[in-house]
């Protein structure tokens, strides 16, 4: 499923391993195994990242890695071991370690079984142009951002990355799933003496990235943000651009949209299924196959990802499940949202969508008498997880709106705000979804811009 065409013939050229080779590795592991059940997760990372700052490339890196993770089950006792030595001895050692720790375990009464095979849909998320992108191509792309910055007396920082990720999962019950994907990402923060601007794009195919346009958008924001003034904290109407909405959406996902969070009572969904928990205009789902996002059709147990409606017209509908959480709750099915084992955090949705509305950012602006335009947030963190209250700063383009126009740049503000409450106060939602990639993982959300009344700012800073 999802194998890059002709992967085997390219082996070595782009460091793409291909389904056949990874299956061979996984099958060798299974042959060594003596546990009641065994799962093998093989992950391949071949990534390149060109990083720039102060108008030059200062970090330019490449990584090739293959990690083999084995989950051994012996009478409901589960042990996990991992390594990246794929020699015969190395693989045997990983199996031995997993089985050794499984034998030291106590039985977990909630563990039912590793998952059994399920039919899955393939999804193409692989582009040869991305897999084979040369350092010179990234350097030229970066140069297209840097040159206009130098000419304008601005400073640019950011990344241009390309990479291949391959995932192979087999288990002793017959699961056999493979997916390869490529991700290309360009991001720029452009800084003036007292201002900054941000823009980013993510694509499967590096040829679809308009790196120069990313730079231009960040430059425009930085120029427009010069000479910012302070504004007092308080409640304001805000227009949040897509990156800011995606930040809140991702936070909702890991705080409370996973089954284990619900089962352990730490989710805002607890005892509220079927109830309205946010605004009627808010519909949120997870879909690993929608090409508008970062496609990942299988989870880390090799299960096909299902499209799960989480919040529909403001009403809490469901959480996402893996085999463990589905097995411990009667009547629930595995939705294919497992993270790599072991994890005590449980399944989470990593391909979130928030339904678009019918507004444009221009129409939202024109209809706003007084408010604040927010490009993105910085360092957000939950203050109260069950109430989904979040704090963070605005960053890289915060502006005052007066009588339907952006009138002046503002110094950044701190917000402390319940996400569900904010979404309940959304009176306009953008008609376009933006694919937003997060920095720490290959996680992607698709979010629209949003206008929200009564958004609570609780502090200011000096820039």
């Amino acid at each position: 499923m999802g194998a890059p065409q002709g992967a085997a013939s390219r082996k070595g050229a782009f460091n793409v391993q291909g389904e056949e080779r990874l299956k061979t590795i996984a099958d060798r592991v299974l042959r060594f195994a003596t546990a009641d059940q065994t799962e093998v997760l093989v992950e391949v990372e071949d990534g390149q990242l060109t990083r720039f700052a102060a108008n030059e490339i200062h970090q330019n890196v490449s990584e090739t890695n293959v990690t083999v993770r084995v989950r051994a089950v012996i009478d409901r006792q589960v042990g996990v071991a991992a390594g990246n030595d794929i020699s015969e001895d190395g693989l045997r050692k990983v199996v031995d370690s997993a089985e050794t720790v499984a034998r030291f375990q106590q039985a977990d009464p909630d563990f039912r079984s590793l998952p059994k095979p399920r039919p899955s849909r393939s999804a193409n998320a692989y582009a040869e142009a991305t897999a084979g992108c040369a350092p010179e191509v990234r350097a030229r792309g970066v140069a297209s951002i840097l040159e206009p910055c130098r000419e304008s007396g601005l400073e640019a920082a950011g990344v241009f990355s390309t990479g291949v990720q391959e995932t192979m999962i087999v288990n002793s019950l017959g699961v056999n799933a493979y997916h390869a994907r490529t991700v290309a990402h360009a991001m720029a923060v452009v800084m003036g003496e007292d201002s900054s601007g941000y823009a980013a794009e993510t694509a499967t195919n590096v040829d679809e990235l308009d790196v120069e346009a990313v730079g231009s958008a960040a430059i425009e924001k930085a120029v427009r943000g010069r000479n910012p003034s302070e504004i007092a904290p308080g409640e304001y109407t805000v227009i949040l651009e897509e990156d800011a909405v995606a930040d809140m959406l991702f936070t909702l996902g890991y705080l409370g949209l996973g089954a284990l969070a619900v089962q352990e009572g730490r989710s805002f969904l607890c005892n509220r299924f079927g109830e309205r928990i946010t605004g009627e205009t808010i519909t949120i789902w997870d879909d690993g196959l929608d090409p508008r996002g970062l496609v990942l059709p299988i989870d880390f147990e090799g299960m096909p990802k299902q499209r799960v409606m989480l919040i529909e017209n403001g009403v809490a509908r469901a959480a996402v499940y893996d085999s463990y959480t589905a097995g411990r709750e009667p009547g629930k099915t595995n939705t294919g949202h497992a993270l790599p084992s072991p994890n005590t955090f449980g399944p989470i949705p990593i391909n979130l969508f928030l339904a678009p509305g019918d507004a444009t950012k221009e129409s939202m602006l024109a209809d706003t008498k007084r408010g604040i335009w927010v490009t993105r947030f910085h360092y957000t963190n939950p203050v109260h997880p069950v109430k989904a209250i979040l704090t963070g700063m605005t960053r890289d383009g915060t502006f005052l709106i007066e009588n339907g126009e952006i009138t002046r740049p503002l110094k950044n503000l701190r917000f402390t705000q319940g996400i569900l409450e904010a979404f309940a106060n959304a009176d306009a939602i953008g008609s376009e979804l933006k694919r937003v990639k997060f920095d720490w993982e290959a996680l992607g959300s698709c979010a629209p811009a949003m206008r929200i009344d009564g958004f609570r700012f609780t502090g200011t800073t000096e820039f």
Partner: protein, 487 residues
């Protein structure tokens, strides 16, 4: 190993590099997690690989691989040089590392009891005993405890003549108890939050913390917090305990003194710093009580090592002396650049470049950034406070991208009235601006209260890197702080 490192360094030179280094790294990690009486996680990871860093045509290149073979070291080294030459297409100046660093040496974390040699049964039994104590408290919904052991063995060699071998061993532990009511969740942790307390050392480090002996207490506190009043909104005096103060130091001092941030190289992700070079030696960062140091030599510190990942030996650096900002965390390249601005600045790096494994380049990371102890006892400090709030153990954190405006939440808080602890308060938060906050520090507890707190989850860089940092702190008092901001 020398054959392998020599091969890379020689080939880099042949390919056109003017500088090269190679790190060969092996990491072993063991994690054990018990949740509500069941061992939920028992994992062993063992990974290895190497990374080659070069300067060619005056610019940086780096490539890495998990395959430790002659063929692969040739491919990766050549790739690193190719990447460096591509970097040079967009350079504004040639990289200047300053004076050469050539060191031969070894370093090994002092370990009394090899944590990987302790039987798994003993480790699981320790966690189950703590779990049982916490689970016995009525009203507790969830108890999670863990042990984590980490060993990194690395060889560093450079074209300047360094050859260094190190073995860093860390041990960590933690327990969290969670109580849940309708629309409310309260959690208490010991010894530290966000997973665990971690330090360099062997299993003897685990024994210095009495996990089972503290489990019932934190569980009772979590249950009590459910019915505690909300922390009021006010401007008042606060006393922070060691773990919370450790994170305050990390966020508002440790990050802004990273000289790579100051020069903008982290601008796109983590941000920059308000501590710009003209402030060195002139900015009153805090009150006269505030003395901050950075070191990689304090025993058990999570930022303790022998050499950094540029091969620079461990050392101690003054950061804030009598409240005055006097020092940065530096690399070879940034130290050289700083001397172009401040000729009196040290010629050499203070050894803070670290990489998150073989597949990442070294960047400036905090070693142990610590607030030196004062003279107070905690009892006397509370008795000396007429009106305020005592806040314990971090719960949430956020700070702007220049490290000025921050907001923290703590798991637990108590009113202080007329020199005595009063009611328990829940959902306590405080917020402020970094220099004003440290300017309000008027008392710090003494060495008996001082410990090195570990932060094993410090994120920075693209691609992302996680560092393990240490922060020595004793409880301290701060005046005129805004507390209790929550929607």
């Amino acid at each position: 190993m020398r054959e392998f490192t020599d091969r890379a360094l020689n080939l880099a030179e042949v390919e056109g590099a003017t500088y090269a280094d190679i790190r060969i790294v092996r990491r072993e990690e063991q994690t054990i997690t018990v949740k509500n009486g069941v061992v939920q996680e028992l994992a062993l990871d063992d990974t290895r690989g190497f990374g080659v860093r070069v300067i060619a045509d005056g610019a940086w290149g780096f490539a890495s691989s998990h395959r430790l073979s002659n063929e692969e070291v040739d491919r990766v080294t050549a790739l690193a040089v190719t990447i460096a030459k591509a970097s040079a297409l967009a350079k504004t100046h040639d990289v200047d590392l300053g004076p050469p660093e050539a060191h031969q040496g070894t370093y090994r974390t002092p370990v009394e009891i090899d944590p990987f040699g302790v039987p798994l049964d003993d480790k699981v039994s320790l966690l189950l005993a703590a779990d049982k104590e916490a689970c016995a408290v009525e009203g507790i919904r969830l108890v999670e405890s863990n042990l984590a052991f980490f060993r990194e063995t690395k060889t560093f060699a450079s074209s300047e003549g360094s050859f260094i071998e190190q073995e860093i061993t860390e041990s960590g532990l933690g327990i969290e108890a969670t109580a849940v009511a309708e629309g409310e969740m309260q959690r208490r942790s010991y010894p530290n939050s966000v997973g665990r307390q971690q330090g360099t050392g062997g299993f003897e480090y685990i024994k210095t913390w009495d996990l089972p002996g503290n489990a019932r207490r934190i569980a009772e506190e979590a249950v009590a917090l459910l019915s505690a009043p909300q922390c009021p909104s006010d401007v008042t005096t606060i006393i922070l305990d060691g773990p919370q103060l450790g994170l305050q130091i990390h966020e508002s001092c440790g990050h802004p003194i990273e000289l790579d941030r100051v020069f903008g190289t982290e601008a796109a992700f983590a941000g920059t710093s308000f501590l710009t070079p003209e402030k060195l030696g002139t900015l009153q960062y805090g009150s006269e009580h505030v003395h901050l140091v950075a070191d990689s030599v304090t025993p058990t510190g999570l930022g303790t090592y022998g050499y950094d990942d540029e091969g620079v030996p461990a050392r101690k650096t003054d950061i804030v002396r009598d409240g005055l900002f006097v020092g940065y965390l530096t690399s070879r390249e940034t130290a050289t650049k700083l001397r172009g601005i401040h000729p009196e600045a040290p010629e050499r790096s203070n050894g803070t470049m670290r990489a998150d494994g073989w597949n990442r380049i070294p960047i400036i990371r905090m070693p142990n950034v610590s607030l030196l102890p004062g003279t107070w006892t905690l009892d006397d400090l509370i008795a000396d406070t007429d009106d305020g709030i005592y806040m314990l153990t971090n719960k949430s954190w956020s700070i702007d991208d220049k490290r000025l405006n921050f907001q923290f939440g703590t798991e637990l808080a108590y009113e202080i009235k007329n020199g005595r602890l009063g009611r328990m308060l829940r959902n306590a938060t405080y917020t402020g601006m970094t220099p004003a906050f440290w300017g309000g520090c008027d008392a710090i507890c003494g060495a008996d209260h001082w410990r090195v707190w570990g932060t094993p989850n410090c994120g920075k860089g693209q691609p992302g890197q996680v560092a393990h940092t240490g922060h020595g702190a004793a409880p301290a008092r701060f005046r005129n702080v805004q507390v209790g901001l929550m929607a």
